[in-house]
Amino acid sequence: MAIVSPGFRGRPRPAADLPPGQYPTEDFPVLSAGPTPRVTHDRWEFTITTETGAKHHWSWREVMALPAETVTVDLHCVTRWSKFGTTWQGVSLDTLLADVDTAADYAVAHSYGGYTTNLPLEDLLDGQAWLAYRYDGDDLTPEHGGPARLLVPHLYLWKSAKWVRGLRLGLEDEPGFWETLGYHDYGDPWREQRYQGD
């Protein structure tokens, strides 16, 4: 017999906050498609490569020196769980892309461990995406993508690449790890774009 009614756990949220086909969860499931990379801060680097091959690098210390933002967002995983009100700290992609000269329409995020995922560049701009390095007040653990992961909460969570090490910008949309195995190129949870053709 539970002492505390389940109703007291977390804030009740209107069903309107839940995209179609999703269920809310209180915990934070760890999904993994491979060994968890362990990258120390001194070896970590973030690189943006433009369509001309120009590279912009940031060390861990350089990222820490950039203005940090704290955001509270809902997460929607394609495996059907959603988690409301998660709080992250990181650097806006607007800040990282501010001095990058590009005509690209698309980006491929690539990660330590070899993971990739593709997104339109415009979905990384205008306050929609972060390089996140703290979760719920603590340093991001490797299981959740630390030292730093992409956070793009308006798309399914597979777009929020864990262990991210850079972006390759390009003129063409280039499908990533899950997108080449039947998952949707865009992945809007509100339009339930789980698979190719959705």
Partner: protein
């Protein structure tokens, strides 16, 4: 590839986990086949691959070098099989 096996406890099972899902696309039990890893050249039974199933699809990796050997995604309307990481699959068959 990071060395993070300690973080993978409970996440990984062996290649026998592929048997059920792949019966829909293979007439024979794929776990009895031997796969050659494109990345390192090692050959071993599919049953010995390391399968990550707590993911949007099944990802089977080489036990030697951790490269992806085989991926399988069953959507509501299709099956997607990626064998890019396998140079070959060798099935023993009755003569």
């Amino acid at each position: 590839m990071g060395n993070g096996t300690d973080g993978d406890l409970g996440q990984v099972v062996d290649g026998n986990a592929l048997a059920g899902p792949l019966t829909e696309v293979f007439a024979v039990d794929i776990t009895t086949a031997r796969a050659r890893c494109t990345s390192c050249g090692a050959t071993g039974p599919v049953a010995a691959l390391r399968v990550y199933g707590r993911a949007p699809a099944l990802v089977a990796r080489c036990p030697g070098c951790a490269a992806v050997v085989l991926r399988f995604n069953r959507t509501p309307t299709a099956a997607w099989l990626d064998l890019q990481g396998a140079t070959s699959l060798h099935f023993p068959l009755p003569g």
